[in-house]
Protein backbone atom coordinates (compact mmCIF):
# COMPACT_ATOMS: atom_id res chain seq x y z
CA UNK A 1 0.00 0.00 0.00
CA UNK A 2 2.69 2.40 1.08
CA UNK A 3 4.92 1.42 -1.84
CA UNK A 4 2.09 1.99 -4.20
CA UNK A 5 1.56 5.46 -2.82
CA UNK A 6 5.22 6.41 -3.20
CA UNK A 7 5.23 4.96 -6.67
CA UNK A 8 2.18 7.04 -7.56
CA UNK A 9 3.66 10.26 -6.17
CA UNK A 10 6.91 9.75 -8.06
CA UNK A 11 4.99 9.08 -11.24
CA UNK A 12 2.95 12.24 -10.76
CA UNK A 13 6.07 14.34 -10.16
CA UNK A 14 7.75 12.90 -13.20
CA UNK A 15 4.73 13.53 -15.35
CA UNK A 16 4.21 17.15 -14.34
CA UNK A 17 7.88 17.97 -14.78
CA UNK A 18 7.81 16.55 -18.31
CA UNK A 19 4.75 18.64 -19.14
CA UNK A 20 6.32 21.70 -17.58
CA UNK A 21 9.57 21.34 -19.47
CA UNK A 22 7.61 21.03 -22.70
CA UNK A 23 5.76 24.18 -21.87
CA UNK A 24 8.97 25.92 -21.00
CA UNK A 25 10.48 24.91 -24.28
CA UNK A 26 7.54 26.38 -26.20
CA UNK A 27 7.64 29.58 -24.23
CA UNK A 28 11.41 29.84 -24.67
CA UNK A 29 10.96 29.25 -28.38
CA UNK A 30 8.16 31.78 -28.46
CA UNK A 31 10.37 34.40 -26.84
CA UNK A 32 13.24 33.62 -29.17
CA UNK A 33 11.00 33.86 -32.25
CA UNK A 34 9.39 37.04 -30.98
CA UNK A 35 12.67 38.84 -30.28
CA UNK A 36 14.23 37.81 -33.60
CA UNK A 37 10.98 38.63 -35.36
CA UNK A 38 11.06 42.14 -33.97
CA UNK A 39 14.53 42.67 -35.46
CA UNK A 40 13.38 41.35 -38.85
CA UNK A 41 10.30 43.58 -38.69
CA UNK A 42 12.36 46.69 -37.93
CA UNK A 43 14.63 45.99 -40.88
CA UNK A 44 12.09 44.90 -43.51
CA UNK A 45 8.61 46.09 -42.60
CA UNK A 46 8.68 49.03 -40.22
CA UNK A 47 9.28 51.72 -42.86
CA UNK A 48 5.86 51.01 -44.38
CA UNK A 49 3.82 49.55 -41.53
CA UNK A 50 5.29 51.72 -38.75
CA UNK A 51 6.86 50.93 -35.39
CA UNK A 52 3.36 50.88 -33.90
CA UNK A 53 1.93 48.76 -36.75
CA UNK A 54 -0.44 51.58 -37.70
CA UNK A 55 0.62 51.82 -41.36
CA UNK A 56 0.48 55.22 -43.08
CA UNK A 57 -2.76 56.84 -44.23
CA UNK A 58 -4.33 54.55 -46.81
CA UNK A 59 -0.95 54.09 -48.51
CA UNK A 60 0.10 51.26 -46.19
CA UNK A 61 -2.39 49.19 -44.19
CA UNK A 62 -2.07 48.74 -40.43
CA UNK A 63 -1.32 45.36 -38.86
CA UNK A 64 -3.84 45.95 -36.09
CA UNK A 65 -6.79 44.06 -37.60
CA UNK A 66 -6.76 40.94 -35.42
CA UNK A 67 -9.68 39.39 -37.28
CA UNK A 68 -7.94 39.73 -40.64
CA UNK A 69 -4.70 38.32 -39.24
CA UNK A 70 -6.53 35.41 -37.63
CA UNK A 71 -8.56 34.55 -40.73
CA UNK A 72 -5.43 34.71 -42.88
CA UNK A 73 -3.06 33.12 -40.40
CA UNK A 74 -1.91 30.52 -42.91
CA UNK A 75 -1.53 33.00 -45.78
CA UNK A 76 0.65 35.47 -43.90
CA UNK A 77 3.85 33.57 -44.75
CA UNK A 78 3.02 33.74 -48.47
CA UNK A 79 2.12 37.45 -48.29
CA UNK A 80 5.46 38.15 -46.66
CA UNK A 81 7.52 35.99 -49.05
CA UNK A 82 5.82 37.00 -52.31
CA UNK A 83 4.32 40.39 -51.50
CA UNK A 84 0.77 41.38 -52.33
CA UNK A 85 -1.13 43.66 -54.69
CA UNK A 86 -4.77 44.38 -55.33
CA UNK A 87 -7.27 45.51 -52.74
CA UNK A 88 -7.39 44.42 -49.12
CA UNK A 89 -9.92 45.46 -46.53
CA UNK A 90 -8.38 46.14 -43.15
CA UNK A 91 -10.45 47.45 -40.23
CA UNK A 92 -13.19 48.09 -42.82
CA UNK A 93 -11.02 50.42 -44.93
CA UNK A 94 -9.89 49.47 -48.41
CA UNK A 95 -6.20 49.62 -49.25
CA UNK A 96 -4.78 49.28 -52.69
CA UNK A 97 -1.03 49.22 -52.96
CA UNK A 98 1.99 47.17 -53.74
CA UNK A 99 3.75 45.25 -51.04
CA UNK A 100 7.12 44.02 -52.33
CA UNK A 101 8.11 40.40 -51.68
CA UNK A 102 10.89 39.30 -49.36
CA UNK A 103 12.52 36.50 -51.34
CA UNK A 104 15.66 36.56 -49.22
CA UNK A 105 13.89 35.75 -45.95
CA UNK A 106 14.25 32.08 -44.95
CA UNK A 107 11.27 30.04 -43.68
CA UNK A 108 12.43 30.50 -40.10
CA UNK A 109 12.74 34.29 -40.55
CA UNK A 110 9.21 34.42 -41.91
CA UNK A 111 7.88 32.34 -39.01
CA UNK A 112 9.63 34.67 -36.59
CA UNK A 113 8.25 37.83 -38.12
CA UNK A 114 4.76 36.24 -38.21
CA UNK A 115 5.09 35.51 -34.48
CA UNK A 116 6.10 39.12 -33.93
CA UNK A 117 3.26 40.79 -35.86
CA UNK A 118 0.56 38.38 -34.66
CA UNK A 119 1.54 39.03 -31.04
CA UNK A 120 2.08 42.80 -31.18
CA UNK A 121 -0.08 45.84 -31.97
CA UNK A 122 -2.97 44.38 -29.95
CA UNK A 123 -2.81 40.91 -31.55
CA UNK A 124 -2.41 37.76 -29.45
CA UNK A 125 -2.31 34.66 -31.60
CA UNK A 126 0.48 32.74 -29.91
CA UNK A 127 3.15 30.58 -31.49
CA UNK A 128 3.77 29.75 -35.15
CA UNK A 129 6.82 27.61 -35.86
CA UNK A 130 9.05 27.32 -38.90
CA UNK A 131 7.69 23.82 -39.73
CA UNK A 132 4.20 25.27 -40.14
CA UNK A 133 5.62 28.19 -42.13
CA UNK A 134 7.35 25.71 -44.44
CA UNK A 135 4.07 23.85 -45.04
CA UNK A 136 2.17 27.10 -45.61
CA UNK A 137 4.84 28.35 -48.01
CA UNK A 138 4.55 25.22 -50.15
CA UNK A 139 0.92 26.13 -50.76
CA UNK A 140 1.52 29.72 -51.98
CA UNK A 141 -0.16 30.48 -55.26
Amino acid sequence: MRNKLIYFILLAIGFTSIIQSCQNETSINFKRYYVNGKGIYEKNCQNCHGSDGKGLGTLYPPLTDSTYLKLNKNSLACIIRNGQTGTVKINNISYEGIMPGNETLADIDIAQVVVYITNSFGNKQGFYDSETAKKDLEKCN
Binding site: N47, C48, G50, L56, G57
Partner: protein
Protein backbone atom coordinates in the same frame (compact mmCIF):
# COMPACT_ATOMS: atom_id res chain seq x y z
CA UNK B 1 29.29 87.92 -0.42
CA UNK B 2 25.64 87.01 -0.50
CA UNK B 3 24.86 89.94 -2.76
CA UNK B 4 27.50 88.89 -5.23
CA UNK B 5 26.09 85.41 -5.33
CA UNK B 6 22.62 86.78 -5.83
CA UNK B 7 23.75 88.95 -8.72
CA UNK B 8 25.64 86.12 -10.32
CA UNK B 9 22.59 83.94 -10.08
CA UNK B 10 20.27 86.65 -11.39
CA UNK B 11 22.41 87.40 -14.43
CA UNK B 12 22.78 83.72 -15.08
CA UNK B 13 19.02 83.22 -15.06
CA UNK B 14 18.51 86.32 -17.16
CA UNK B 15 21.03 85.20 -19.73
CA UNK B 16 19.70 81.71 -19.96
CA UNK B 17 16.25 83.13 -20.62
CA UNK B 18 17.30 85.58 -23.28
CA UNK B 19 19.47 82.92 -24.88
CA UNK B 20 16.56 80.79 -25.98
CA UNK B 21 14.36 83.54 -27.31
CA UNK B 22 17.00 85.57 -29.16
CA UNK B 23 19.01 82.76 -30.68
CA UNK B 24 18.78 82.82 -34.44
CA UNK B 25 18.95 79.87 -36.72
CA UNK B 26 22.08 79.80 -38.86
CA UNK B 27 21.90 80.63 -42.55
CA UNK B 28 23.21 77.74 -44.63
CA UNK B 29 24.77 77.49 -48.07
CA UNK B 30 27.19 79.68 -49.93
CA UNK B 31 27.84 83.24 -48.91
CA UNK B 32 29.53 86.17 -50.52
CA UNK B 33 30.81 89.34 -48.88
CA UNK B 34 29.82 92.59 -50.60
CA UNK B 35 30.87 96.13 -49.86
CA UNK B 36 28.13 98.61 -49.24
CA UNK B 37 28.04 102.26 -48.37
CA UNK B 38 25.74 103.11 -45.52
CA UNK B 39 25.66 106.76 -44.34
CA UNK B 40 28.87 107.45 -46.23
CA UNK B 41 30.70 104.57 -44.48
CA UNK B 42 32.05 101.48 -46.17
CA UNK B 43 30.65 98.31 -44.58
CA UNK B 44 30.93 94.67 -45.47
CA UNK B 45 27.63 92.90 -45.89
CA UNK B 46 27.06 89.21 -46.61
CA UNK B 47 24.84 87.89 -49.34
CA UNK B 48 23.53 84.39 -48.74
CA UNK B 49 22.48 81.77 -51.21
CA UNK B 50 18.76 81.87 -52.03
CA UNK B 51 16.35 79.60 -53.87
CA UNK B 52 15.88 80.92 -57.44
CA UNK B 53 12.47 81.24 -59.16
CA UNK B 54 10.84 77.94 -60.10
CA UNK B 55 7.65 76.67 -61.67
CA UNK B 56 6.15 73.19 -61.32
CA UNK B 57 2.79 71.45 -61.59
CA UNK B 58 1.16 70.35 -58.34
CA UNK B 59 -1.18 67.45 -57.51
CA UNK B 60 -4.13 69.46 -58.90
CA UNK B 61 -2.26 70.15 -62.18
CA UNK B 62 -2.00 73.81 -61.16
CA UNK B 63 1.23 75.73 -61.65
CA UNK B 64 3.13 76.32 -58.42
CA UNK B 65 5.89 78.91 -58.41
CA UNK B 66 8.24 80.55 -55.94
CA UNK B 67 5.63 83.33 -55.65
CA UNK B 68 3.33 80.93 -53.82
CA UNK B 69 5.99 80.78 -51.10
CA UNK B 70 6.47 84.53 -50.72
CA UNK B 71 6.07 85.69 -47.12
CA UNK B 72 5.98 82.11 -45.89
CA UNK B 73 8.46 79.71 -44.41
CA UNK B 74 8.48 76.25 -45.94
CA UNK B 75 9.85 72.75 -45.58
CA UNK B 76 10.91 70.90 -48.70
CA UNK B 77 12.08 67.42 -49.66
CA UNK B 78 12.60 65.02 -52.58
CA UNK B 79 10.76 61.70 -52.92
CA UNK B 80 8.77 59.57 -55.38
CA UNK B 81 5.44 57.82 -54.94
CA UNK B 82 6.62 54.26 -55.60
CA UNK B 83 9.70 54.59 -53.39
CA UNK B 84 9.50 51.75 -50.89
CA UNK B 85 12.57 52.43 -48.79
CA UNK B 86 12.98 55.73 -46.93
CA UNK B 87 10.02 57.68 -48.38
CA UNK B 88 7.33 56.13 -46.18
CA UNK B 89 9.42 56.98 -43.11
CA UNK B 90 10.05 60.53 -44.35
CA UNK B 91 6.42 61.24 -45.08
CA UNK B 92 5.18 59.62 -41.85
CA UNK B 93 7.43 62.14 -40.11
CA UNK B 94 6.54 65.02 -42.44
CA UNK B 95 2.86 64.31 -41.76
CA UNK B 96 3.50 64.95 -38.06
CA UNK B 97 5.12 68.29 -38.88
CA UNK B 98 2.25 69.12 -41.26
CA UNK B 99 -0.37 68.31 -38.63
CA UNK B 100 1.41 70.52 -36.13
CA UNK B 101 1.37 73.56 -38.46
CA UNK B 102 -1.86 72.70 -40.27
CA UNK B 103 -3.85 75.73 -41.42
CA UNK B 104 -1.07 78.12 -40.42
CA UNK B 105 -1.04 80.45 -43.46
CA UNK B 106 2.63 81.27 -42.89
CA UNK B 107 3.82 77.68 -43.31
CA UNK B 108 3.93 75.56 -46.45
CA UNK B 109 5.32 72.18 -47.49
CA UNK B 110 6.85 71.30 -50.86
CA UNK B 111 7.64 67.73 -51.91
CA UNK B 112 9.38 67.32 -55.27
CA UNK B 113 8.97 64.02 -57.07
CA UNK B 114 12.18 62.79 -58.70
CA UNK B 115 10.26 60.15 -60.70
CA UNK B 116 9.84 62.46 -63.70
CA UNK B 117 8.39 59.77 -65.93
CA UNK B 118 5.65 58.26 -63.77
CA UNK B 119 4.75 60.77 -61.07
CA UNK B 120 2.43 62.92 -63.14
CA UNK B 121 0.01 65.20 -61.24
CA UNK B 122 -2.76 62.57 -61.23
CA UNK B 123 -0.48 60.10 -59.50
CA UNK B 124 0.67 62.74 -57.05
CA UNK B 125 -3.00 63.46 -56.30
CA UNK B 126 -3.71 59.81 -55.49
CA UNK B 127 -0.65 59.74 -53.26
CA UNK B 128 -1.58 62.96 -51.43
CA UNK B 129 -5.15 61.77 -50.91
CA UNK B 130 -3.99 58.42 -49.52
CA UNK B 131 -1.66 60.28 -47.17
CA UNK B 132 -4.69 62.27 -46.01
CA UNK B 133 -3.70 65.63 -47.50
CA UNK B 134 -6.31 68.02 -48.89
CA UNK B 135 -5.89 71.58 -50.08
CA UNK B 136 -2.57 73.07 -51.09
CA UNK B 137 -0.67 73.79 -47.90
CA UNK B 138 1.42 70.75 -48.82
CA UNK B 139 2.32 70.83 -52.52
CA UNK B 140 3.46 67.64 -54.29
CA UNK B 141 5.09 68.73 -57.50
CA UNK B 142 6.07 67.40 -60.89
CA UNK B 143 8.68 69.14 -63.03
CA UNK B 144 11.17 68.65 -65.81
CA UNK B 145 14.19 66.47 -65.15
CA UNK B 146 16.62 69.39 -65.22
CA UNK B 147 14.54 71.68 -63.05
CA UNK B 148 14.01 69.06 -60.33
CA UNK B 149 17.50 67.55 -60.19
CA UNK B 150 19.05 70.98 -60.71
CA UNK B 151 17.25 72.67 -57.84
CA UNK B 152 17.94 69.68 -55.58
CA UNK B 153 21.68 69.85 -56.04
CA UNK B 154 22.26 73.57 -56.45
CA UNK B 155 19.61 75.25 -54.35
CA UNK B 156 18.64 72.84 -51.59
CA UNK B 157 21.97 70.96 -51.44
CA UNK B 158 20.21 67.58 -51.52
CA UNK B 159 21.69 64.75 -53.52
CA UNK B 160 19.21 63.09 -55.91
CA UNK B 161 19.96 61.24 -59.13
CA UNK B 162 18.96 58.47 -61.49
CA UNK B 163 21.02 55.33 -60.97
CA UNK B 164 20.59 52.18 -63.04
CA UNK B 165 22.32 50.05 -60.38
CA UNK B 166 19.68 50.87 -57.78
CA UNK B 167 16.73 48.40 -57.62
CA UNK B 168 14.29 51.28 -58.08
CA UNK B 169 16.54 53.28 -60.44
CA UNK B 170 16.41 56.42 -58.32
CA UNK B 171 18.56 57.51 -55.40
CA UNK B 172 17.97 60.44 -53.11
CA UNK B 173 18.75 61.70 -49.63
CA UNK B 174 16.06 62.07 -47.00
CA UNK B 175 16.76 65.66 -45.95
CA UNK B 176 14.02 68.06 -44.90
CA UNK B 177 15.19 71.59 -45.76
CA UNK B 178 13.80 74.61 -43.91
CA UNK B 179 13.56 77.80 -46.00
CA UNK B 180 12.78 81.29 -44.67
CA UNK B 181 10.76 84.17 -46.17
CA UNK B 182 13.88 85.48 -47.92
CA UNK B 183 14.26 82.05 -49.57
CA UNK B 184 17.42 81.36 -47.56
CA UNK B 185 18.21 77.90 -46.21
CA UNK B 186 17.88 77.83 -42.41
CA UNK B 187 18.15 74.16 -41.52
CA UNK B 188 18.66 70.62 -42.83
CA UNK B 189 17.21 67.63 -40.96
CA UNK B 190 17.35 63.90 -41.60
CA UNK B 191 13.69 63.19 -42.33
CA UNK B 192 14.06 59.54 -41.33
CA UNK B 193 15.15 60.37 -37.76
CA UNK B 194 12.47 61.25 -35.25
CA UNK B 195 14.73 63.38 -33.03
CA UNK B 196 15.86 65.51 -35.96
CA UNK B 197 12.26 65.98 -37.06
CA UNK B 198 11.43 67.15 -33.54
CA UNK B 199 14.29 69.63 -33.85
CA UNK B 200 12.80 70.83 -37.14
CA UNK B 201 9.49 71.55 -35.43
CA UNK B 202 11.23 73.56 -32.72
CA UNK B 203 13.28 75.45 -35.27
CA UNK B 204 10.14 76.27 -37.27
CA UNK B 205 8.56 77.85 -34.18
CA UNK B 206 11.72 79.83 -33.68
CA UNK B 207 11.88 80.93 -37.31
CA UNK B 208 8.23 82.00 -37.22
CA UNK B 209 9.05 84.15 -34.20
CA UNK B 210 12.07 85.63 -35.93
CA UNK B 211 10.15 86.40 -39.13
CA UNK B 212 6.76 87.44 -37.86
CA UNK B 213 7.27 88.26 -34.18
CA UNK B 214 5.09 86.59 -31.60
CA UNK B 215 1.85 87.08 -33.51
CA UNK B 216 0.82 83.72 -34.86
Amino acid sequence: MRKVLFFALATFIFQSCSDTSDKKLPILGEREPVEKTIDGKQVIDTIYQTVPPFSYLNQDSIAVTDKDFDNKIYVTDFFFTSCNTICPIMHRNMLNVYNKFKDNPKVKFLSHSIDIKYDLPSRLKTYATKLGIEGNQWEFVHGSRDSIFGIAAKSYLVSAFEDSTDPQGLVHQGWFILVDTKKQLRGAYDGTKEDQVKQLMNDMEQLLKEEFGDAK
